[in-house]
Amino acid sequence: MSILYFFLYLLLVTIIGLLYMGAARKITAHIQNRYGPPVYQPILDVLKLFAKKDTASHGIMHSLGPVIAYTGIAATLLFLPLGNHTPLLHFNGDLFVVLYLLVVGPLGMALGAGESANSNATIGIARALSMMLGYEIIFFMATLPVFYHYGTASIYRVIQAQGAFPDWAAILFPISFIAGLFALQGLMGEKPFELVVAPHEIASGPMVEYGGKYLGLLQIWHAVGIIVETGLFVDIFFGPQSILWFFAGTFIVFFATVIVNAVMPRFRIEQAVRFYWGLPLLLSILGILQVYIWR
């Protein structure tokens, strides 16, 4: 029974994530004065990709890569409370479990893409990993004061410890919140940190050798990833929300990143990393100092 529930849950979140992707295309199109495809277009794309018959594979790891990627993100989702809504495994919803499970996806993709012997893919991965030295550490440092303040490492308890509107962590820790927003832009891989895919430079990087069902798996990985990443952010900073408000929150955060994405150019990789080691790092350190002063 619970396993069935878990499949449905995953399916639902995947579809919502795909709709977010469609919405992003629509928004970007509107900003650029175009019409854009319908919002449900990514769902159709994925179905089409899964139906494709002759897909090139470069070997066993190349095939398994997308599978592992989706495994990682799906497992993360199950440990992540969606606002007030608690999934099966909320009692294990520890920040570090989530953070480390979150890495499984990129690792799987990286392993798969690596086997393809295409330099574009490998360069993309090298960039992706290097970028982690930038945004991941900022994201972590931005959330640390919150966890420290509420004296727990459990995401669920952090959510419950916050109250209604003015009692949000985002209000209590505005500096960390801003630093977190910077990090989120990189976490989502949107411009100006869109170096990993960079279609004009390295031909969509890790995805370059993927087609058919592999690309389909990577698409749904990305879809769930959007929900998990923005959801983590909303959980930590916006307190307890009902499931609807939770999705609204994630969409608002997502919307903000998409807008920034639409108007920004792309950094070079070392610029991107250095950018994170500048202002965002300073902000996150200030956020940590703030929680120290509060105590």
Binding site: F50, V67, Y100
Partner: protein
């Protein structure tokens, strides 16, 4: 008596293997049986609390087996067997095994030693013979590395000896015992001096300078034991000094512990950065090993019950995954005769078992569940946040991220990417390597899913000294901050993997593409086209780091050495003259004495 018999057995097996040197098969059998016997003898006969003192007339050598020595002894002996089996594939002479066995003897005796002088004796024994092992390394540069290693370990040993003498001078006891009651700063001095050799062995910055070279240039199979096993002596020493020698350190010198933790975190972070800048697999792993041992130091520096449990668990994890990685790289070297990441690639198709070993090795190194690397990292973070040092936590997290970078570089450089023409006919690593790989994979996964199996003995080691705060059973771990059920994490990953695989399987079919069947923006490629992007993998990070990357401890050390050279030149200057100058010395000397004693004559 059992401890003495064990050590004696090891020495005898070493000597027999030396004598049997040229008769390879027999020698290998003896060496192997000796190690296995020692391992089971250790497991069955040596119990915590066992005391033995060996009177060699001029000195009483005291031995005592404690929980900690049991814990590390099992790790070290087990890794020794794995090293031994793999080493039979290499060209080694009898002396190599003699030195290996004496190294092991020294290491185990260090674990058992109860008084400081014996401790020093066995520590130096271990250093000396492991130096000889490195000296018997594989390349011409191994001499330089071995020399460096010798000087560093002896430096540590002498610092320890100085600390020993200070301790004996002030406490009138040579036994390993508490010095907390001593007045003044001398106990801090003793503490630092006693910690030095372990900082060297566990390659804590700035005492790590020997490690990358020594790990790189020692024979590949020995590095398995060297990095995984011998570095544990350093961790054991941390435990020994911080808990048995100075029990009240947390009360008296909390800032020392803080500095120690920061040093560990800096080690972890900087070595991580150095690691992903390396193009040589063994050097990369060497830095990774140093980096991982940095976490252990952090755990000790935080000095709470579960941080120390985390540190010891991580030490075990380090023994498992770092040995596994070195073993796989040794197997790859055996087949390809290179450890240069730029010259390999695509070996996944030729050495699948090695690939699986390395893959799980790097997953554990990165701390990703459900492997042995995860529980310790999780515990460590919980301890860090509870302690409230958020900047330190961030630095440790930074170090963890570097692990992803160098891990991927390693696996990509060797196994992914394009298979080179000269490696088209490479076979899977031979049986000895494969055996070790498979054996190490078992604890790597089992202890990642059910960490409770070893948390219990580790807790026994720690709870005697620190108030137990960690709740645990076979599956769960509870800290004041959070709770994890490790089997559930593993189970969820398994289920989601099954689901993903299901999606993969019901979707359309795929075909196997050639290596050259790649998107290259219309450029025509053939077999010779260089597709393997491995050198300067993170080259752009040099720009990101900028100047600070060129700073190094080596420069400080070199300045120090220059000072000594200068002093040496001055000293030599006294002896440069001819006989007249020397005569002048004699006369001047007496003139000086006459002047100084003028009043008395």
């Amino acid at each position: 008596m059992a401890m003495f018999y064990l050590l004696l057995l090891l020495v005898l097996v070493g000597i027999v293997s030396f004598v049997l040197g040229p008769i390879k098969v027999l020698r290998n059998i003896i060496a192997f049986l000796g190690a296995v016997t020692a391992f089971f003898y250790f497991l069955t006969n040596i119990k915590p609390g066992l005391i033995y003192s060996l009177n060699i007339r001029v000195y009483n050598v005291h031995f005592e087996a404690g929980f900690s020595s049991m814990f590390f002894g099992v790790i070290i002996t087990a890794l020794f067997i794995i090293f031994l089996i793999a080493s039979f594939h290499e060209e080694n002479d009898g002396a190599y095994y003699l030195f290996a066995y004496l190294t092991l003897t020294g290491a185990l005796a260090v674990l058992f030693a109860k008084d400081l002088i014996s401790f020093f004796f066995f520590f130096e024994t271990m250093s000396l013979f492991s130096f000889l092992m490195v000296l018997k390394g594989k390349s011409d540069t191994s001499f330089r590395s071995a020399f460096k290693y010798l000087v560093w370990s002896v430096f540590g040993g002498y610092a320890f000896l100085m600390g020993t003498f200070l301790k004996v001078y002030y406490t009138h006891s040579v036994m390993i015992g508490d010095i907390s009651y001593l007045a003044g700063g001398v106990k801090l001095l003793i503490l630092i001096l006693l910690l030095a050799p372990f900082a060297v062995k566990a390659a804590l910055m700035p005492f790590h300078l020997w490690a990358p070279d020594a790990y790189k240039d020692s024979k590949d199979t020995f590095t398995v034991f060297f990095s995984g096993g011998l570095s544990k002596i350093g961790v054991f020493g941390y435990f020994l000094v911080l808990f048995k020698v100075f029990t009240e350190i947390a009360v008296k010198y909390p800032y020392f512990l803080k500095a120690f933790a920061w040093l560990g975190a800096i080690t972890a972070a900087l070595s991580g950065i150095y690691a992903f800048m390396q193009d040589d697999a063994k050097k990369l792993l060497a830095y990774s090993s140093i980096s991982q041992l940095g976490y252990v130091a952090v755990g000790f520096g935080i000095y709470t019950h579960f941080s120390v449990v985390a540190a010891l668990f991580h030490a075990l994890g380090h023994a498992v995954f770092e040995s596994l990685l070195f073993l796989v790289v040794a197997g790859v070297y055996y087949r390809t005769k290179t450890t240069d990441l730029r010259k390999m690639g695509g070996l996944i198709k030729r050495m699948p078992l090695s690939f699986i070993g390395l893959l799980f090795g790097i997953i554990a190194t990165s701390g990703i569940p459900p492997t042995i690397g995860f529980p310790s990292k999780w515990l460590l973070y919980e301890a860090l946040i509870l302690k409230g040092d958020l900047l330190l936590t961030s630095l440790v997290f930074f170090a963890s991220i570097t692990a992803f970078l160098y891990s991927y570089k390693l696996v990509h450089g060797i196994f992914l990417g394009k298979l080179h023409e000269e490696h088209k006919n490479v076979k899977e690593a031979p049986l000895g390597y494969a055996f070790g790989t498979v054996v190490l994979l078992v604890p790597l996964l089992v202890l990642g899913i059910i960490p409770g199996l070893v948390i219990k003995p580790i807790d026994y080691i720690v709870r005697f000294y620190l108030k137990p705060e960690l709740g645990y059973n076979l599956a769960n771990m509870n800290t004041p901050l959070g709770h994890v059920n490790f089997p559930v994490v593993g189970l969820v990953m398994g289920l989601t993997f099954a689901l993903s695989l299901f999606i993969y399987l019901i979707a359309g079919k795929s075909y196997r593409a050639e290596q050259t069947d790649n998107y290259t923006a219309t450029e025509a490629i053939d077999e010779d086209f260089e597709l393997h992007y491995a050198g300067e993998f993170y080259g752009f990070m040099k720009k990101a780091f900028g100047r600070p990357l060129t700073w190094s401890f080596e420069k400080i050390l070199n300045a120090f050495l220059k000072l000594f050279s200068f002093l040496g030149e001055v000293a030599r200057g006294f002896y440069m003259g001819d006989a007249r100058v020397y005569l002048f010395y004699v006369i001047a000397f007496f003139a000086l004495l006459a002047y100084l004693m003028g009043g008395k004559l």
